[in-house]
């Protein structure tokens, strides 16, 4: 649903670069700062206060104080939390152009998408979860004996939220919104590559009037600030989106410290299965977007496109066409579909994997190298004749590189689809009702799309099977992960049904 997009602010003013604790802006305890880089120009945008353990300690202390029994936040009616969240949604929409421009500057994603998708996605999270605030019910339960038994869904407490760089604003809100709706308090560490929109969000949180300490934001690096959050004994829960490798470290850190609950949204190598009876044009187009959206920097990227042999060649041809037509350029240009990759690390990694594809015998159909000579731009790349054992078929590339593999039968492709440590998403394109449900029910993936891709909403649970993650975000299931169940059992003189 696109609206006419207002022109971007090409040089958005950077207003906030400090650490946000108790609704105040402070410098890092160490005095250190770190740079954030524009991936189009490869130049430093600005320096941000670098949070480390000492700053995390301050933030967690502030959050803990704001969560004390009797505090304004604990005493606030649930419906009032919803009102504050809706107000936050209003302020974000007020500043939609600025936030989208800032996100584009910091992340390199096309401004048009940031305006039409990223910012509204964040607002949807806020409004959806606001609606849950006064609906998190417990139960009364008919236990045996003379007892009155009920459960309360209490907020779990201090939530350590660690956000990624691919959808910085949207995913920060994907965690903050349900946490606040459930009555928790938050310490957020945005990704060091993309802190700016999170810090601007902090200013809106203060403007709305959330009590001090309810949301705190500590920019910094994973091994320092991130680790400090995950190891902190007063953090009750961590919600992390990022790589599987770091997910494992976080889980171990919880085991080492206070057994805090851990929700993880990690990587994927999602199979996208196209049967011969599918609407071929539609399937090829959807499969193109499934891979190239956000420059391939999507956890749910359809990065193993399995196409039934009868339609394989035709499908590859269409895919090449779409890849070649996809425009790459300045994110602030409204006609551009792809910006640069996020930074030089990712840039090098993707080019390395493309090389491996060539060396291992996949057929490079288009693209395959750097685009232009400045900025982390990579050409839209398509490989055909990919086999399951190649690196590009097994490892998450997180770039604009599409793998098209051939399959014969449904049983064969389901086996191959499941032959991975990942399990985030999957898709099937077919008109056949039996095939559709057979794939949907047998593939090990947290989200399965039938004749669609990337259709997601805060109201539907989202998360991974296997090493793609633990827990679910979205929907009632998602918000209840921010609740702790307390069972209360009261002796009564005589129970009756």
């Amino acid at each position: 649903m696109e609206t006419a997009v207002p022109p971007p602010i090409i040089n958005p003013e950077i207003k906030f670069t400090q650490i946000f604790i108790n609704n105040e802006w402070v410098n890092s305890v160490s005095g250190r700062t770190f740079p954030t880089v524009n991936p189009v120009t490869e130049k430093v945008i600005c320096h941000i206060q670098e949070g480390d353990k000492a700053d995390v300690d301050k933030a967690v202390a502030a959050a803990t104080a704001a969560f004390e029994i009797g505090s304004p936040w604990r005493r606030m009616d649930a419906a009032q939390r919803a009102i504050l969240l809706h107000k936050l949604g209003d302020l974000i929409m007020r500043d939609q152009t600025y936030i989208a421009s800032l996100e584009s500057l910091d992340n390199g994603k096309p401004y048009k998408g940031a305006f039409n998708l990223d910012v509204p996605f964040g607002v949807k999270q806020v409004r959806y979860f606001a609606g849950w605030a006064d609906k998190l019910t417990g139960k009364t339960i008919p236990v045996p004996g003379d007892y009155f038994c009920y459960t309360r869904a209490e907020p779990v407490g201090v939530v350590g939220a660690i956000a990624p760089w691919n959808f910085p604003f949207g995913i920060a809100l994907q965690k903050i919104a349900p946490a606040l709706a459930a009555g928790c308090v938050v310490v957020l560490k945005p990704s060091e590559q993309t802190s700016l929109t999170a810090l601007y969000l902090a200013s809106l949180i203060k403007e709305v009037g959330f009590p001090p300490g309810v949301v705190n934001i500590v920019p910094g690096y994973g091994p320092t600030a991130g680790a400090a959050i995950c190891e902190h004994h007063d953090v009750d829960k961590v919600s992390f989106t990022g790589s599987t490798a770091v997910g494992k470290i976080i889980m171990a850190a919880s085991g080492k410290s206070n057994l805090k609950g851990v929700s993880l949204e990690l990587g994927g190598k999602s199979p996208n299965i196209v049967f011969a009876d599918a609407d071929l044009d539609y399937a090829a187009l959807m499969s193109h977007h499934a891979l190239f959206f956000n420059m391939g920097q999507c956890c749910v990227s359809g990065s193993r496109t399995y196409v039934q042999e009868e339609i394989y060649d035709e499908f590859v041809k269409k895919s090449i066409d779409y890849a070649k037509k996809r425009t790459i350029g300045d994110p602030f240009d409204l006609s551009v579909e792809n910006g640069p990759q996020i930074d030089s690390t990712q840039f090098k990694k993707i080019l390395g994997l493309i090389e491996s594809g060539k060396q291992q015998g996949a057929k490079l159909e288009c693209g395959g190298g750097r685009h232009g000579d400045k900025g982390y731009f990579i050409e839209n790349t398509v490989f055909s004749n990919v086999t399951d054992d190649m690196c590009i078929a097994k490892e998450e590339i997180f770039g604009p590189v599409q793998q098209i593999l051939k399959f014969k039968t449904i049983d064969d492709v389901i086996k191959r689809a499941n032959n991975t440590q990942y399990g985030l998403a999957a898709a099937v394109f077919t008109k056949d009702i039996d095939k559709a449900f057979a794939v949907a029910h047998s593939v090990k993936a947290g989200t399965v799309w039938v004749n669609s891709y990337l259709a997601a909403d805060p109201s539907a649970p989202f998360g991974g099977f296997k090493m793609s993650g633990i827990g679910r975000e979205g929907g009632e299931d998602g918000i209840r992960e921010f609740c702790e169940i307390k069972t209360v059992v009261v002796k009564v003189p005589q129970k009756n049904s």
Partner: protein
């Protein structure tokens, strides 16, 4: 928050959030009423447009504080109802705008209606005060505040109305869809016109239904204004329709209509009977009823006496006794009975009676001449059957349907005033000795809407809670309502529940879909 809290008793920690009317001090925080308020809409609202009534008949609308006519409103007839139902049916067709929009967009529209009511709240609350005679401060701090909260609460449910997937035997995918039930007939009473409208409109719209609303013939003005706000909010034409009129012409036509899928009615038990019969005789449409009550309010000797007296007073006299939940049988344990009666007389005598627009007024007129005469009749019956009237008992002033706050003591269970719903400012105080005795007496009624107990003893509190046949039970409080808590009656106080998640059940129809698949795996 406009809601005003009263510090009740010394035992309460912090502010007690009882939905009591605003005190005079608090009233200064409220916006001043429009004492010259005029009604804006007086005809039939169909398809987001105003229509003349089909036969030209109207009903006069009376200001109960002055007995003067405010204006005339259309008396809708069967033809008007037919038009409205047809519009609602068309708006509900498969493929219509209303059926196609995202559930979350319904939420946006309901929230927008709440915003508009907030924007026009001075006008709406003033109009309600003029038409219903309710004290303006009460309409602001209770009626209007809770109405907007209910709208916002249900706005949040729109995209959360879940069906399930169910692991049945065999090679099947089995899911339930919760679909809107269809064209809903909403019949609203006169005691809380805006609030009762919110109670019904919010969940009906949230679940995706279309509506034909019939406000009470005594108090249609605010409903008609809100209809226009629905159009302004952006609800597609035909989603909300309003046909003003009375029970025996307009209401009856709506209730008997073969193309209406559901009726929800708040009003007297007597009319509830008629409606249920009519549904049986027509198309078995779904039904929710919120009817009368004779709610027992039980005060034990160990209660915080000052708080119990205060809250029991409000429990009866709130809204001039015109509350379905009125605590109209105040059972007081013998040990504290005399003291309780004395203090209750004091409270009744200090209740400030006056012009509803006056910010210090706590007690306005009864709604109309019929109710006024009925209440006075009950007072006479009470006296003649031997109850002891200790204060009040007659008209107040010379103009308007005002009745003095009245208290009876030494009331026995078999007296008429202890059995029948008076719906006026008449308090019955009965004596009891033991918990067992009072639990039994409390249940000896055809009604079962609300009940309460005042005690510090946790065991006694939970004993009443378990024993009483009542849809709502209050412990050490009264009339605490919330958008999220289900509300409704046992026995002849009603059928079904409003508010809360349960409030949505009545407005949805569950469809089970079973799809044969090639091979089911767990």
């Amino acid at each position: 928050m406009l809601l005003f809290a009263k510090k009740l008793g010394t035992a309460s920690s912090g502010l007690q959030k009882a939905y009591s009317y605003a005190t005079a001090a608090a009233a200064t925080a409220l916006p001043h009423p429009l004492t010259n308020v005029k009604p804006r809409y007086t005809t039939v609202f169909i398809n987001n447009e105003w229509h003349k009534g089909c036969d030209g008949n109207t009903l006069p609308i009376i200001n109960p504080a002055t007995e003067e006519k405010i204006g005339d409103v259309v008396l809708g007839n069967k033809a008007d109802v037919d038009k409205a139902v047809a519009a609602a049916r068309a708006a509900f067709k498969m493929g219509s705008a209303w059926r196609r929009i995202d559930a979350s967009s319904r939420g946006t529209l309901v929230n927008r209606l709440a915003d508009l009511m907030e924007r026009d709240k001075v006008y709406l609350t003033s109009l309600e005060t003029l038409n219903a005679g309710k004290p303006y401060t009460q309409v602001c701090s209770f009626d209007m505040t809770l109405s907007i909260k209910i709208l916002r609460y249900y706005a949040g449910w729109c995209d959360k109305i879940h069906g399930k997937t169910i692991p049945i035997d065999g090679d099947y995918l089995c899911v339930t869809r919760r679909e809107p039930v269809g064209v809903c007939g909403l019949i609203i009473p006169w005691n809380f016109p805006i609030l009762m409208l919110a109670f019904k409109l919010a969940p009906a719209l949230a679940a995706g239904n279309t509506i034909v609303l019939k406000p009470s013939e005594k108090t249609p003005l605010t409903a008609l204004y809100i209809a226009q706000l629905c159009a302004e909010a952006g609800f597609p034409a035909g989603v909300v329709n309003v046909v003003p009129g009375d029970g025996e012409t307009t209401g009856a036509a709506l209730v008997a209509h073969s193309d209406v899928n559901k009726i929800t009615f708040t009003g007297s038990t007597e009319v509830g009977h008629l409606i249920q019969k009519s549904l049986g005789e027509s198309n078995l449409k779904r039904l929710t009823l919120e009817l009368g009550g004779k709610s027992p309010n039980i005060v034990l000797a160990d209660a915080d006496l000052e708080k119990a007296v205060d809250v029991s007073h409000q429990a009866l006299f709130f809204n001039m006794g015109q509350c379905c939940t009125a605590g109209s049988r105040t059972f007081v344990q013998s040990k504290i009975y005399d003291e309780f009666v004395e203090r209750s007389i004091e409270k009744a005598n200090s209740r400030i009676i006056g012009d509803p627009f006056d910010l210090t007024t706590e007690h306005g007129p009864q709604i109309d001449d019929i109710q006024y005469k009925q209440v006075l009749r009950y007072i006479d019956i009470g006296k003649s059957e031997g109850a002891k009237m200790v204060t009040g008992g007659g008209r107040y002033g010379k103009k308007g349907f005002y009745i003095q706050p009245t208290v009876f003591k030494d009331v026995q269970d078999d007296m008429t005033i202890a059995k029948e719903e008076i719906f006026g400012p008449v308090m019955q105080i009965l004596k009891f000795d033991t918990m067992e005795e009072v639990c039994e007496r409390a249940n000896k009624t055809q009604y079962g809407l609300a009940a309460s107990i005042f005690t510090k003893d946790i065991d006694k509190a939970l004993t009443l809670v378990k024993n009483i046949q009542s849809g709502t039970v209050w412990v050490n409080c009264y009339n605490v309502l919330d958008a999220a808590a289900p509300f409704g009656g046992y026995k002849m106080s009603g059928l079904g529940r409003e508010l809360g998640e349960s409030g949505l059940d009545a407005y949805t129809e569950s469809k089970t879909v079973t799809i044969n698949i090639s091979e089911n795996n767990s």
